[in-house]
């Protein structure tokens, strides 16, 4: 199971001060799957993904990308993944083209390849019109798109995206969905975190639900839904309070 998965997490643990943010996460993401990581705010999604891509050192556990350990063999592992972190700034005093070019050069890509891909990516993501506007002056949605472009540029085999659909308008959202769907159809693997259940339901082949730093449920979309809607399944797993109708009556 672990061997043929594109992405595997084994016993990841992270503590902040005394709080355990991630408490032993095991996850196997099959190659070619479109994997959604769900969970309420504070469930540990971002912490898990940060540890999985080398941004945050885990207290225990391993993260394997196509068989390469992110923390033992970081150079090889990092070359195979494209990452879009959430809540992270970009080098925003460059304009969009400069930023993408910079990312390409950092990844050691050939200049002519960079030229072709940057132009095409900006075009597809409708960012060409921004011209020389610095990324710091971009809207939130445009920043998401340029960050996604940075993750895609070196044609990685695995994409790790943290909240790719947050603050994105419907048109850009559709464009991103379209790109990701084609990427998976071409043999790539995507894992992304989200709490937009509707998008997850529409796109994903596999789903994992996190709560309180642990994976509560994992499996194919149909297995997790088990005849219910994904929202019902999610609430059942996470355990939200149900309304009695009498509270907040003063509103």
């Amino acid at each position: 199971m672990i061997e043929d998965s594109a992405f595997a997490l084994q016993g990841l643990v992270k503590r902040f001060d005394t709080k355990v943010a991630v408490d032993g996460v095991d996850l196997a993401v099959p190659a070619g799957s479109f994997f959604g990581l769900l969970g309420p705010n504070g469930a540990g999604k971002t912490t898990t993904l940060s540890m999985a891509v080398g941004l945050l050192r885990p207290d225990a556990g391993r993260a394997l990308v196509l068989g390469h350990d992110v923390w033992q063999d970081p150079v090889r592992a990092k070359s195979l993944i494209g990452v879009m972190p959430d809540g992270v700034r970009l080098f925003d005093r460059l304009d969009g083209t400069e930023l993408l070019t910079y990312q390409g050069l950092l990844r050691g890509m050939a200049p002519d390849v960079i030229d072709a891909r940057v132009t095409e990516l900006l075009d597809v993501l409708a960012l060409t019109d921004a011209g020389r506007t610095l990324v710091i002056d971009y809207s939130a949605g445009m920043k998401k798109k340029i960050a996604l472009a940075c993750a895609l540029l070196h044609a990685p085999r695995l994409l790790v995206l943290d909240e790719p659909f947050e603050a994105v308008d419907p048109v850009s959202g559709a464009a991103i969905r379209d790109i990701l769907t084609r990427y998976v159809a071409g043999g790539g693997t995507v894992i992304f975190s989200s709490h937009v259940l509707e998008v997850v339901e529409r796109l994903c082949t596999h789903v994992a639900i996190m709560a309180n730093g642990r994976i509560s449920t994992v499996g194919t979309l149909d297995a997790v839904r088990d005849g219910r809607s994904l929202e019902e399944a999610f609430v059942a797993v996470v355990g939200g309070r149900t309304s009695t109708g009498s509270e907040l009556s003063w509103l």
Partner: protein, 535 residues
């Protein structure tokens, strides 16, 4: 209501410390420094009240007070930043009358290490007045001291918040930061000039100047104690009135700018979109002749950031001003002749400035903030990263240092000194860089990503800049062999200074890159965590 603000401020401070022993330790160090300097200054302020003190002591309250107030105006703008623990913008949604908010923020601002240090320092005035004149002058002096503290706090708040209003758009803000950097950076050298000038002018002129200052808000609250002791009650009343009126005016200005600070930066002027033309890679490099690799890309990006990032630019300009003035002032002082002392001062000033130049990269990762994550996920090797950053920084600093050496040689009228100066200067630059590199990897700190370009995080920032001071010292000490060669080596030393100095610098930088680079490879996630602002 005001008490609520005070409690809130203390609570925010305490929560910031929770689970961070390092931060607590650094805060305590800051507190001890304030205690040390404050008590020293307090003793100094006592001198004019001594029965048989020197006759020039009478000017101490006026000049000391002026220095304090000026410090409160300029220091936050460029050097330390303002403590924005309670940021006005956070209260925008609460239905608070402006006066209540103002009073609360003022009280919160009074609860801090700088205010404590100032109060401690000036308390010497009240104690002295009590010793010399009894209880009534002591009370008058104490009122003056408290009003002075209020003045200091209000003026620093009013100035920073007034400026951040004027600096709505990024472009004007960048410009203003630069202007302020020049202003504040010239403050130190100016002081040098004043003190060296004072020795020549004589006590009488100084007393006249102190007399004038005593009637301005800069020193008025601090000289009332002396007046009271000597029974000049009319002067006391006028001076206190001057102070109170100034405080009220400043508070009014502050409250005006506070409102717009709370509204925020919505709508930052018109945006002109210029089309991007040309192939991306060619456009990225522009006229820069760097290799088309990760290394070249980082050099170009850093070169651009030293110009485009206002904080970096401000630090470059601050250094430029200090770097030009410091050696000039030191060398044109009393013993500007060709004797051994002058030679020592000259060499020492070169070492001082050279090591200071290296310090510019001490928080190089902090400037980038979380954007550094891109380097982490791309797996940039540590040595390569540091080499690119060092090269880009030196691109700006090396010409500056060269110009500085030439300027000094010309001013001393001895161009033959040039090779010696350049050798010493660059040796110290190399060792300073090597030390600062390690500080940048071990002790990076986050800079807040808010709209006030002068804000820093309480505690960590100030405290970690002490580590930069340590790196400065270490850089100077490490450069001593070259300085000793120059000073003790006679003509042989003079000939060898340039080649030895340059080789020494190259060796130091190379060693620094190797060691700090390897550490960086193992510390990337920790470094990223250190420069991530805590929200």
């Amino acid at each position: 209501m005001a008490l609520t603000f005070a409690r809130l401020k203390l609570r925010v401070l305490r929560n910031g410390f929770r689970g961070r022993p390092g931060k607590i330790a650094l805060f305590v160090i800051g507190l001890l420094c304030a205690l040390g300097y404050g008590s020293m200054a307090a003793l100094f302020f006592l001198v004019p009240y001594l029965p048989d003190g020197p006759d020039w002591a009478a000017v101490i309250p006026a000049f000391g007070g002026t220095a304090l107030v000026l410090g409160w105006i300029l220091m936050p703008l460029v050097w330390f930043g303002v403590d924005e623990t309670l940021e006005p913008g956070r209260f925008a949604m609460l239905p608070l009358p402006r006066t209540v908010l103002l009073r609360g923020l003022l009280i919160a601002a009074l609860l801090g290490v700088p205010a404590f240090g100032t109060l401690l320092a000036t308390s010497g005035l009240a104690i002295g007045a009590g010793i010399a004149g009894g209880p009534l002058p002591a009370v008058v002096a104490a009122v003056g001291v408290l009003l002075g503290l209020l003045l200091c706090v209000v003026v620093s708040r009013a100035v920073t918040s007034g400026f951040s209003r004027a600096l709505r758009s990024r472009r004007t803000r960048d410009l203003a930061a630069v202007v302020l950097a020049v202003l504040a950076a010239s403050l130190g050298p100016l002081q040098f000039l004043l003190t060296s000038g004072a020795q020549q002018v004589g006590t009488q002129r100084l007393a006249a100047l102190a007399d004038v200052l005593g009637w301005t808000p800069l020193a008025a609250p601090y000289v009332v104690g002396l007046d009271a002791v000597q029974g000049r009650w009319a002067a006391v009343a006028v001076r206190l009135a001057v102070t109170v009126v100034t405080i009220l005016l400043l508070a009014w200005w502050w409250s005006r700018s506070l409102e717009s600070a709370m509204v925020g930066t919505a709508g930052g002027g018109e945006v002109r979109v210029r089309a991007a033309t040309g192939a991306p890679v060619a456009r990225f490099f522009g006229r820069a002749r760097q290799p088309r690799t990760a290394y070249g890309a980082m050099v170009v990006r850093e070169l651009r950031y030293w110009v485009r990032d206002v904080r970096r630019r401000a630090s470059l300009i601050t250094f430029a001003v200090i770097g030009v003035f410091l050696p000039v002032v030191m060398n044109l002082g009393p013993g500007a002749g060709g004797n051994a002392v002058a030679q020592g001062v000259n060499g020492g000033s070169m070492v001082l400035v050279g090591a200071l130049a290296g310090l510019g990269i001490a928080n190089q990762f902090g400037y980038d903030g979380t954007a550094y994550a891109m380097h982490v996920v791309s797996g940039v090797p540590g040595r390569l990263e540091l080499r690119a950053r060092t090269v880009a920084y030196s691109w700006y600093i090396v010409p500056l240092l060269l110009g500085l050496a030439v300027l000094n040689a010309v001013l001393r009228g001895d161009l033959l000194l040039l090779p010696v100066m350049v050798g010493t200067l660059f040796a110290a630059y190399g060792t300073g860089l090597a030390c600062a590199m390690h500080v940048s990897v071990w002790a990076a700190y986050s800079l807040p990503e808010n709209q006030n370009p002068f804000a820093i995080n309480t505690g960590t920032g100030v405290a970690k800049s002490f580590l930069a001071m340590a790196a400065w010292l270490a850089g100077m000490v490490l450069a001593l062999p070259v300085l000793l060669l120059v000073l003790l080596g006679g003509s042989v030393g003079a000939v060898l200074a340039l080649p030895v100095g340059l080789a020494y610098a190259a060796g130091a930088i190379w060693l620094g890159l190797l060691t700090a680079g390897d550490i960086l490879d193992h510390r990337q996630p920790e470094l990223l965590a250190a420069i991530t602002p805590r929200t």
